[in-house]
Symmetry: C2
Subunit: 99 residues, 2 copies
């Protein structure tokens, strides 16, 4: 075995993080919704997606942790948006991983 850093580079780990975040149908559906601007609010998504609201919150949290989305308070709701910068980065990293 070689030293970890040689093979498992930071770039590769970041790519894996993004891929993992994308690795669930619900989360992809969330991104699709946000990307199409069809909706931005937790409540609206909860009506469309076949999961409980608490589960939806968990998926939103994971996407936030991965940096793919962000939420802006717009009382009484929260407006979710794609984080374009990281979304682009994810696209780049994944497309380069699949080159």
């Amino acid at each position: 075995m070689q030293p970890t850093q040689d093979i498992l580079s930071e770039e590769l780990k970041q790519t894996a993080r993004f891929a993992k975040a994308l690795g669930h149908p619900i989360r992809l559906a969330i991104l699709e919704l946000l990307n199409s601007q069809a909706c931005c609010f937790h409540g609206d998504m909860a009506e469309i997606l076949p999961v409980a609201k608490s589960t939806l919150s968990q998926h939103l949290k994971e996407l936030k942790n991965a940096g793919l989305i962000q939420g802006n308070i717009s009382s009484p709701t929260i407006k979710y948006c794609i984080n374009r910068e990281n979304f682009e980065l994810a696209k780049q990293l994944l497309s380069s991983a699949l080159k």
Copy 2:
């Protein structure tokens, strides 16, 4: 909640399966190795990647199940290769999910 099939399409589920398979650093490293033709054999990979052989086998199995790689027996070893068709499909689906 709407009927599942409307939102969670087969395409979206397939995309999630690919993304999930890509969502681990070791598996990305495997694909990188296979893609660069630097090596193709389980034993060679086991020397390079910082995991036990049995763990490596598990990751190879997951990549196989996802359709991203395939193994051809070449006694006494097994030659692993990228499954180009599905690799392309994954690239396509993911890039379209991140459009």
